[in-house]
Symmetry: C3
Subunit: 307 residues, 3 copies
């Protein structure tokens, strides 16, 4: 089978869209625009990583259906962004992004085989492994996060912080921290599915509420550092893998709330060695809540489709 | 099916008893008394967590048999105790204990599904995950554990330290550090099964011996910090999951001894980020020794019952 | 079945040889000589650990075929070396090496059962668990590794450093850091299989290249700290588990390259608590690349034999 250039472009855009569990090329196009609002470097490395990962999957003989759905591109895309955000632009970091993308393809095949028999999806686990290893192996500046203590009161946010937190919770899915990037991503979700956009927005709100109740620091809430995992969990459980019912909506809400302390703990754990939680909290929470679902006898809390 | 108030009370007490792998409501009653000797806060939050976890399991439609055996309560109970021990009494921490208990119910379902096919029990893994995440996400005081160096000689304990270590190794199963709490727990075990009480006592002695041979610091040995996992392993392998024979007794003893360095390592690893081993060393050691058992061809080293 | 003394000796030597995935007693003999070049302590504790682990496996009733192939000895051998390297010679450390070897036998049975159904080999995972726990539980000196920053340029090595790195990448498989030990090990591999010796040499070269491109510090490259996992991965994927084809050679090369950042990350992560990566990067990388292989449709990237 040969692919026309248009097919190649569509697979590439789908690879970017699959970061938010969407197979729509139009969504991917809007996501790509959002990447370039973060700077040309992020856009170029994101596309480079997605292309490297997809190409490696094709060369290694991975499943063609998955390739054409963009399932071999999204981890490479995120890895490319993570590489350039940390290490900047150079021939060495471009080579690194390409090799890291190739390793993502192998890890996606391994995760798919190991978890497929349990009915669990790969999600962004390959990206988290590769980006986490590179972050700790190639330290840049020493971690400078100021310690903080949980407050005995709610964290209160200004209107500006609230708006920024809502948008950045979505933007940080792609490691972006500008509010308009988050809005473009939300529009991209809306193009593919109204359900997905609503789920993402609800996940962002749930994360802000939880973080404020926990007394987490306001500036980090506003940067979206505690909320992007909740957005992804809401997309996965609220709009992708479970049948929407009031039961499954409540189940997804509990999962989204649970990601906030998990993200805070992972930040505290990973920062001293130069790491980052990336989207591990999303991956782990979604796996556990999907694994539990068949044992729970309520309408909607069961797999709609395996991916 | 509807439950009478007496049934509800029995399930609640069984939930407390299952912390030590017992389904006896009388054992649960004595365990609850032991909790209240640690202060009313610990007793109330322990019962609150057990109730929240059990209720969440019922609402989510988990297996009714497991609920009535108390299997949905013990992780919530321990999580409630861990929450109040760290963060004190307030409306926020009560809400936290309830939500954390609900997450325990989901994690118990997930762990049961993932490990059930391997024939392995859930044990306290959900509690360890939830309590560990909260401990790292909500730091209280910075960790102040003084560093120490292993001594080239045995640690020698005074008679008082020895007695305290024996009792606190049992008490720390419920995060309690008063000697009489440990004795009440031991009586509670005796009510349900003489075999269980003997196993717990032997586990405590084995842990003290191992810790002294390793040259671990005497004050921490006396606080029971190195021994509660050995007590639980002895209960699990010596009195619950394996058929008692001289072979399986030796196997359980090797496992109990192995938990002491594992607990010491986990303490050293978790303390800098504000964490604690909780009962991870027990969970991991029991899983590995149970997973190995069917491959080992000796009488008694095989599953008596899957739980 | 009874074993003659000659059988016992052969099993013992095979146990040493299996560290590098070889069942040849002659290879084991040369490996044992290499151990003694590191000092009599290392040789004696390596043999003691291998014997303890094998004996424990026999006593516990493990599979006899595995025992006679040396598969119950190699983790105990490495654990004995790790114990004496850290804690020195004494009756206590000898007891520790024996008990740790016995635990290795249990962990090998557990890992074999859990991974066997996935078609994955045990590798050195039991050693990594036991040695890692002991290293963190019994801290010796505080970690004094100087921090470093990745350089924007390639690391350049002198000819002497290059030669030492090539040899020590092989020697560090047994925690040895003398260049002639590495050469004796290479000869030992050559005795069993030319393919294995070539794979080990290529793995060492690939690791040096990768480490230089990453800008890792020259003195550590020369000590072999970044390369021994690549040597083992090359042995496993290039000469043991996959059918040799150009495809599988490239696959093994990608895996060997990937171990270098993984080892660097593990070093940075483990050192502050007194730990070490040991051969975890080899184990994890080999598991993932083997798990992915059946999903990849290229000649040679499929299991030659399950071990």
């Amino acid at each position: 089978m040969r692919w026309a250039p248009a097919d190649v472009g569509r697979v590439q855009l789908r690879g970017v869209a699959q970061v938010a569990l969407s197979p729509s090329a139009w969504t991917g196009l809007l996501f790509t625009i959002a990447l370039f609002t973060g700077g040309w470097r992020i856009g170029v490395y994101g596309l480079l990583g997605a292309a490297a990962s997809t190409l490696a999957a094709v060369v290694l003989g991975a499943d063609r259906d998955g390739v054409s759905q963009g399932l071999e591109g999204y981890c490479g895309c995120l890895t490319g962004i993570a590489v350039v955000s940390r290490l900047g632009v150079s021939w060495r970091t471009a080579l690194l992004a390409v090799l890291a993308g190739a390793v993502c393809a192998v890890l996606a095949a391994a995760t798919g085989r190991l978890l497929g028999r349990l009915g669990l999806p790969v999600l962004t686990a390959p990206f988290c492994v590769v980006a986490g290893v590179l972050a700790v192996a190639l330290p840049t500046a020493p971690a400078t996060a100021a310690p903080w203590e949980p407050r005995p009161e709610f964290t209160s946010l200004s209107a500006a912080q609230l708006g920024r937190a809502f948008c950045d919770n979505i933007g940080q899915v792609f490691l972006l921290d500008r509010w308009y990037a988050g809005l473009i991503l939300l529009v991209g979700l809306l193009v593919a599915s109204r359900k997905a956009a609503v789920a993402a927005a609800c996940g962002s709100v749930a994360a802000i509420l939880t973080a404020c109740v926990m007394g987490l620091p306001a500036d980090r809430i506003a940067q979206g550092l505690y909320g992007y995992n909740a957005v992804l969990v809401a997309l996965a459980l609220g709009a992708t893998f479970l049948t929407p019912t009031p039961w499954s909506a409540g189940y997804a809400a509990l999962a989204a709330v649970a990601t906030v302390p998990l993200t805070a703990a992972w930040l505290a754990f990973a920062q001293p060695v130069g790491g980052s939680p990336y989207t591990w909290p999303f991956v782990v929470t979604t796996w556990l809540f999907l694994a539990a679902a068949p044992a729970l006898d309520r309408p909607g809390i069961s797999f709609e489709k395996a991916k």
